[in-house]
Symmetry: C2
């Protein structure tokens, strides 16, 4: 049988995993698709680099265009990362009728709709299971498994670096700075960790999940983002004492077809299935109107887990190739996007204030909440151990984001408040 020829862009961690799986599971894979699969050409940064996989150096090139323009190649697997140039590579590959697998969440979050439109025009497949939550087949699940349902909420731990940091801070009472340093030494965090710790990576993944779950075109700018760099070990202690774990959660909700998506450090009840997802693991919780609560858990990154998803996409493309139906099952978001306004977005909040330790302060503060219609679930005032201020810890009932933001704004100018120390979303369900 004529082999299916694959062009690989990138031979870093994931690319190496792809080669390993395609070579190591060749018998299994070809039994499933009915022909051998060969890695025909690979675009790399350096041809001479020593690699611990078995690949003929003649197949390596430093020029991605050489791979894309090779007429023998049926499918392009893009695992090189990058945005603008990579977009050009992929658009050109599609223009030439090649199908594409990509693990590139940045690209799909920013240019997904342009790429999918080109794919549809050219009747090509573009699959990107590995772009969110590594080895967890969450994209297939949203597209196919829940095609019959209306998704009302998606909550995701979709960034391993920040989950590693928050888990360690919680388990060991360590500071953010110390754990970040350790994560960098272990290779779990980049030397410039901004994209992870400021929530941008998670926001990109949530834009992809929101698009698929709500069948509307979510853009990155629709996602509100707050990172974890200002989370202290004291905050995590407060969370634990109140019965919560602190997680960087992507939260996407749809109510009457109006959606809202955010990424923020969130206190989530200890008995929630997401609360015990620790370390570099990822998990996506999906609540469907009919299916109810579900959760999908697994490795969010890493050579082989991510490559598992890439090669599963490759298998799906080759099966379509055999049937001549590539590009015909494209999922085009068919709903007009309607964003929920801030006075309709409702959730509970945790707020920690440093205030003057004198009579009447608590009354003054609770009065502000009352004026803006934010009712309170619990209020604790206690002396601050390290300075003459008092600390007030408040958990609100569900309140609109608009009202709560007005309270915070008011507090900024309230004399008796020394400092709004911390503010977190609270998820009780």
């Amino acid at each position: 049988m004529k082999p299916v020829k694959v062009g690989l862009l990138g031979l870093g961690t994931v690319g190496t995993g792809v080669v390993r799986i395609v070579q190591g599971n060749q018998e299994d894979l070809s039994s499933q698709v009915g022909s051998p699969i060969t890695i025909e050409k690979v675009a790399v940064r350096s041809v001479d680099k020593v690699r611990n996989i078995d690949i003929d150096p003649a197949r390596l090139t430093t020029d991605p265009w050489e791979v894309i323009r090779d007429p023998d190649i049926d499918v392009i697997v893009e695992v090189m990362g990058g945005i603008d140039l990579t977009r050009e590579y992929i658009l050109e590959a599609l223009e030439r009728g090649k199908h594409v697998v990509t693990a590139n969440k940045d690209l799909m979050a920013l240019h997904g709709s342009a790429i999918l439109a080109k794919a549809q025009e050219k009747q090509c497949d573009v699959f990107y299971e590995a772009s969110v939550a590594g080895g967890i087949p969450i994209i297939r699940t949203l597209i196919e498994g829940f095609s019959s349902d209306r998704i009302v909420k998606i909550m995701g731990i979709v960034n391993g670096t920040t989950n590693y940091i928050l888990s360690k801070m919680s388990q060991e009472g360590a500071s953010y700075e110390d754990v970040l340093k350790e994560a960098q030494e272990l290779g779990y965090a980049e030397s410039d960790p901004t994209s992870d710790v400021e929530g941008l990576d998670a926001a990109r993944k949530m834009a992809i999940l929101g698009t698929l779950g709500f069948r509307t075109n979510v853009e990155l700018s629709d996602v509100t983002v707050q990172g974890i760099s200002s989370v202290t070990k004291e905050d995590i202690n407060y969370a634990k004492n109140l019965g919560y774990e602190m997680k960087l959660l992507g939260i996407a909700t749809s109510q009457n077809d109006h959606i809202t998506i955010s990424v923020q450090p969130t206190m989530i009840r200890k008995n929630h299935p997401l609360a015990s997802v620790n370390g570099v693991f990822n998990a996506v919780y999906v609540h469907g109107e009919s299916v109810g609560e579900t959760m999908f858990y697994g490795a969010g990154a890493g050579e082989l887990p991510t490559a598992t998803s890439v090669v599963a996409d490759l298998i799906a493309i080759i099966k379509n190739l055999k049937l001549g139906v590539n590009g015909l099952k494209a999922i085009v978001p068919y709903k007009q996007k309607k964003l929920q306004s801030d006075d309709q977005v409702m959730y509970k909040n945790f707020i920690l204030l440093h205030v003057d330790d004198k009579a009447g302060v608590l009354a003054q503060i609770t009065q502000v909440f009352a004026e803006y219609n934010v009712s309170l679930a619990s209020v604790v005032q206690q002396p601050n151990a390290t300075n003459p201020d008092a600390e007030i810890v408040i958990i609100t009932h569900r309140a609109s984001k608009a009202s709560f933001d007005r309270v915070l704004q008011y507090f900024e100018n309230l004399d008796v408040i020394q400092r709004i120390k911390s503010v977190y979303r609270v998820e009780d369900i």
Copy 2:
């Protein structure tokens, strides 16, 4: 656009859910498949029964053959249950070129290969996502999500009734009999609970998961089964004190392409993700060689969760119908089945013995383990609170099933042992 016409066999819990979802989500569903979907005819037990769904009585019939022989019907959705007669209905529907969705695990576990062979012959689709773990899309995940990987272990909590019973016994220290009675009153257990509590239902589901995960034809007779009816609250207390939860686990493993599948009450470490799956929820843990550890969690039964999977299958069939590729992506197990022999099946065991309370007994017992090469991880001897015997609690290291069975056989005839009180598998990973 010409509507796709569906014939429904059965209008019980799941059938009602299917009607509700097809009607309630009609706009969403037809946006996805490009034409309306109508429930054309429904086979029911009684036409006159009062139902709280909106369905034209003229569409109801008590004769399933009338539905199957209707030439206008494109897809048969079977949610009536039953085995022999239902098999005939489905084979005839396929013979007539109709595609089939079924939620029937009994049928698929016993006659899946005959049904899938007929489907292939007739180029029809047979999808059965709802047959295992209700709303969790685990069948799709095994077929597509992990097509690239080699699955080495599947552990499933796939029966809600027994998980409800064991969870309640653990949480409330209640007896098996009391919780079973409560579950029957709540409708979580049948009046004849045998199929659930003796593990048969779980075994059928594990046969299906094993077939898909290992790509070989697992039959029900390949699954070793032990139910939960002899699990006592004392056993559960022992488990908890040792750091475990007791769960009815389906465990399927593959080692060098040799497989073994069992269903049995198992002590699983409290920090394992399966240990905190409680109540009627289901979860399937899948360990792939490349993807590592993953877990999928959700409602295992119920009207709407199960119907979600049924209608998702229906959507997939209709998409294939539009493309003219039904039956062309059939998954045929391509590996020859090789069962692991009992001297290669290795796991840890818990054993609770009632023995004569006299000198030398413990030495005699540990000597038996030594003779059969079963080494021990922990041994505790203590007086029995309620009678003059002593209790010995032993946890073994990983030992072959063959050796351990020989130990048990020897114990049957050992004078100093009054009773082998309990034996459970132990999962430490």
